[in-house]
Symmetry: C2
Subunit: 168 residues, 2 copies
DNA sequence: CTTTTGGTTTTGCTATTAACGAACCAAACT
DNA sequence: AGTTTGGTTCGTTAATAGCAAAACCAAAAG
């Protein structure tokens, strides 16, 4: 009776963790949620000369509908990767890649490892009473690796930032 | 006439680059191609005690069909994250997370930045004759960032590896 | 005030994907 | 040989994603 309660309790705990880790892996896969068209749009803007293009030029180059371009632009604008400006006396918007935000977005992505570290630590904690310590050692190596990487990465990012400030 | 040829030639070049970068961003989004079920399967195996489970137990816990589990297992096996073994005198396979491969896969993922660096360098090279040097400077910052990070990362990885050897 | 321009929003279609059920198969047991 | 066990493979189906057509809208131009 006691045993059964413990077992179902344990299972509920596992289900909770499974959900959490499962969602993380699922998200990780989709990550930036960039569609094929948005990808090509970004590529077009980053390569084009001048590095800003209006709505019509974009539809022409990518041979896509207005609605699709509008949607793709909206997505890229929301992520900050793309913004626009206008010339006075010209109603058209000119869209361009915001290279500063691009940099920020990339920096953010590198922080992803921190989340993975947290999960790995949770896993190890979860397994601590298991008698399969050989397996746990494997998990521990992963935790150590993430620790090493996140710390090193944090360090790299800070150094780079301060380097930028001093040479500005 | 000359001008027209140059223009169309340039456009073809852009199309080529757009395709390349577009595909990269698209891939990056999908990355590991892990399905929701595969994610939960991995999570279950990494949390379960003992850290190996047979086919039936997996279907029971995840409440999924045999075919779905079989497919998810195949995907995880192909990536190397999961493998199996048998006990002699027991026909069932016991599936488990291969923590060593997990580590390797994570290390590989960190190398992704190298590809991005290559692309960013190509972009800068592609833009070198543009008169919009202010924009190009923004791209250059991104290139420098990737350079800094890939080098630092390479360094981190090597240090970690040699550290592992010495403490083994 | 009506028309045009430069987009956006809504709605619907199509292709892809995730998961399933059923049939199937090889190995082991009877 | 026939049956059971432990899966795999092959269509199908349901959900989702990506794109487009059409209707819409605000601001500027006529």
């Amino acid at each position: 009776m006691e045993k059964v309660n413990n077992a179902t309790e344990k299972e509920a705990l596992i289900r909770e963790q499974v959900e959490k880790i499962g969602v993380f892996l699922e998200q990780q896969a989709k990550a930036s949620a960039i569609t094929p068209l948005a990808g090509r749009l970004f590529a077009f803007l980053i390569l084009s000369d001048p590095p800003y293009q209006n709505f019509y030029d974009i539809t022409e180059f990518l041979q896509a509908s207005k609605s699709s371009i509008s949607t793709a632009l909206k997505a890229l604008e929301q992520s900050g990767l793309v913004d626009y400006f206008t010339f006075s006396g010209d109603r058209k918007r000119y869209f361009r890649v915001n290279t500063k935000k691009w940099l920020e977005v990339e920096q953010m992505r590198l922080q992803q490892a921190t989340i993975a570290l947290g999960l790995a630590q949770d896993i190890l904690e979860f397994r601590k009473d298991s008698k399969h310590q050989d397996f746990n050692e494997g998990v521990e190596k992963v935790v150590e690796f993430y620790e090493y990487i996140t710390l090193g990465m944090q360090d790299l990012l800070e150094k780079w930032k301060s380097e930028q400030k001093s040479t500005k």
